[in-house]
């Protein structure tokens, strides 16, 4: 699927300013600034959590205190003062929401401004006959509205804020939370375990093909509020689900921290498609402001012939540190990673994946497209590990980088560890520059310079864009154009 006319129009209509740079005025119920055991207790109490979860959070917090912030990534940013962040901020609500009509109109207004002009806007507005996309909206740490729950309930699918799952499905949460990304995993995931505020929970029962795309929108709204959301998806035997996460944040001068954790558990013959479109505020053209996006995403293919696909379109954030990974434990399990990372101006992205092959006949595919413009630095960092028992395991990796201008950089850092004699590992990498010839050719046919750029870059990303669900592919194409604005000339 390539660029559409609609895309071109959209690109044209968007001004140089960050489109999502507005601040909503909703009274926040905010915890005092800084981090301590008391704050962890405050969050847990706010969420009315059971004792075991509080204990887990505290263990994570104490562990985190002993940890050191990682510095191996090729990103450069001023040291984060973790005591200068608000860890909890919930939009004030009168009482529990029974239906969408009760959602704060200002929150709905925010969605409107976001241009969630896909079907979700209608879905959120509760329009009859709106498309089959269920949206769980996370607005500054609290899930505001979960739609389509009833339709999902009929199939036995659970899709709700994780805080609610803690209350209503404690056994599932207790069994799987932290089972893929334990609190000891890394600095940011430990922090997340201690202070996560909300996120989505999905359970697809045995043999169920989820009847619609599940979708979550995250927004960071209050100033200096770190967003620490936690997503847990469990696909039971022979089930299927496609999940999309989209993100935007309003414009702020201070950098905002975002440290999410996503865990996927995939059983026998089950399949999860997880797609992300991330366009958080990247900072201005001088590199001021923007989101720090330090995310841990991991899928455990526990069952035989289970399958996971990570598809990501990363155009936002000032600094990105993200490696959606697959643990291919079940025999014949399949892991896929399709990524587009666009960096412009002073953005930095260090992103890639980890494919850990443990089971027999496991296979993985990595297709990474990195685009750098302005002064941006983009790094692909990927690990392919073949364990001793990974008989006949296969990996194929393709890393393509595209440079726009001569002040940006693209770097490819593949790590390969092979303990299996029968494994096959292939790695291809290319780096190219967008050529003046291509631009002129498009312009000579009537496209403006920026339209030409968007068209060429969309072509470069095509293999990955094709992997996105249809509704979001169009939005992603627009984003590609928008995020490269000002990179020409």
């Amino acid at each position: 699927m390539a660029i559409s006319q609609d895309t071109i129009e959209q690109v044209e209509s968007v001004s140089e300013k960050y489109k999502y740079g507005f601040v909503s005025d909703i009274k926040a119920d905010t915890a005092p600034i800084g981090l301590s055991e008391n704050i962890v207790r405050f969050i847990s109490a706010k969420k009315e959590e059971p004792e075991w979860l509080l204990e887990w959070r505290l263990k994570a917090y104490r562990y985190w205190l002993e940890m050191v912030e990682p510095t191996w990534a090729k990103v450069d940013y001023p040291k984060i003062d973790f005591q200068d962040i608000y860890y909890y901020s919930a939009p004030k609500q009168k009482e529990k929401l029974k239906s969408l009509d009760e959602v704060d109109p200002e929150i709905l207004e925010v969605y409107k401004k976001l241009g969630i002009s896909l079907k979700e806007q209608e879905v959120l507005a509760g329009v009859e006959g709106a498309a089959n996309i269920a949206v769980d909206a996370v607005f500054d740490s609290v899930s505001v509205a979960t739609t389509f729950r009833k339709r999902l309930e009929e199939e036995g699918v659970i899709f709700c804020p994780i805080s609610e799952a803690v209350k209503n499905h404690p056994d599932l949460v207790k069994k799987y939370l932290g089972s893929v990304v334990p609190y000891t995993d890394n600095f940011y995931s430990a922090l997340n375990c201690a202070v996560f505020t909300d996120g989505s929970f999905v359970y697809i029962p045995k043999g169920v093909r989820c009847p619609m795309e599940l979708s979550t929108y995250f927004r960071i709204n209050a100033a200096q509020t770190g967003q620490f959301e936690r997503t847990l998806i469990i696909a039971d035997d022979d089930s299927y689900v496609s999940y999309l996460e989209g993100c935007t944040a309003p414009m702020r001068d201070e950098n905002q921290l975002h440290a999410a954790v996503v865990e996927l558990v995939i059983m026998d013959r089950a399949e999860v498609k997880y797609s992300t479109v991330q366009n958080w505020y990247p900072g201005d053209k001088d590199g001021k402001g923007g989101i720090y996006n330090f995310v841990t995403k991991r899928a455990a293919c526990r069952g035989v012939s289970s399958k996971v696909s990570w598809t990501q379109v990363e155009t936002g954030s000032a600094v990105t540190w993200k490696y959606p990974s697959c643990i291919l434990q079940g025999d014949n399990s399949v892991g896929e990673f399709y990524s587009i990372a666009i960096t412009n101006n002073y953005q930095q992205a260090d992103t890639g994946t980890k494919m850990i092959h443990l089971g027999k006949n496991t296979s993985s595919t990595i297709i990474s497209k990195g685009i750098s413009a302005g002064q941006a630095q983009s790094t692909y960092r990927g690990l392919v590990r073949m364990g001793r028992k990974a008989v006949n395991a296969r990996n194929h990796t393709v890393c393509d980088s595209l440079l726009i201008g001569d002040k940006c950089g693209a770097h490819t850092v593949p790590y390969i560890e092979n303990q299996s004699r029968t494994a096959t590992i292939e790695h291809e990498a290319t780096t190219s520059k967008i050529s003046e010839e291509q631009l002129f050719y498009c312009q000579q046919r009537g496209l403006s310079e920026e339209e030409s750029m968007a068209l060429i870059v969309n072509g470069f990303c095509k293999e990955v864009l094709q992997k996105l669900p249809m509704e979001f592919a169009v939005e992603a194409q627009k984003l590609v154009g928008i995020s490269l604005e000002g990179s020409v000339g």
């Binding site: 390539a2 660029i3 559409s4 006319q5 071109i8 050529s435 003046e436 010839e437 291509q438 002129f440 050719y441 498009c442 312009q443 000579q444 046919r445 009537g446 496209l447 403006s448 310079e449 339209e451 030409s452 068209l455 060429i456 969309n458 072509g459 470069f460 990303c461 095509k462 293999e463």
Partner: protein
Amino acid sequence: MLEIKNLHATVGGKKILKGINLTINPGEIHAVMGPNGAGKSTLSYVLSGRSGYDVTSGSVTYQGQNLLDMTPDVRASSGIFLAFQYPVEIPGVASATFLKTALNAQRRFRGEEELDAIQFLKLVRSKTKELGIKDDMLKRPVNVGFSGGEKKRNEVLQMALLEPTLMLLDETDSGLDIDALKVAADGVNRLRSPERSALIITHYQRLLDYIVPDFVHVLADGKIVKSGDKSLALELEEKGYADICAA
């Protein structure tokens, strides 16, 4: 339609065009011939607005407006089409998408309604049929893996679809076998009309057997040294450039 007066242009600081004077009226086909390095391609790039081709003096008026003030895309949307000597590959972008995007960009510029996918497909299929071009070309990425002949056919198809007012053909005949040459010529001839003009740049007389020009100009060392009718092309073929240029 097009009036070039005393046009001087440089490429990378080097003087290439040294005072071109040329007037093209509606409906006329002009051929520009000349030896290698005479400035033929430079002329086509200057007219289409490619960066790096700097006009140092002179003027170009197109449909009463100063052409040199327009950006390349505005020139294109105003009806100037350059058929490239070496058409450029755009990986991942299907030819059909490219064509539709270009056509709609031009229609939008002219204040016309854009075509939707179905209208576009109908239109483009009628053009491929007319020109005897296989539809599968539309699905393939622009010029990627195309043979020399296919690339030129693609240029002709684009031209047929965009229906320009002024066609610039930059050595469209180079590297073409006789069948492909006929397709290219056919494409131009189909577009011939009292309102439409063409500037055909070529080394050889051969193409002009199929696209019969009203005027033939000889370009040498950045200047038009001789002009005439179709017979001049034949004369060139017989005597070579050296004689004519020296004369």
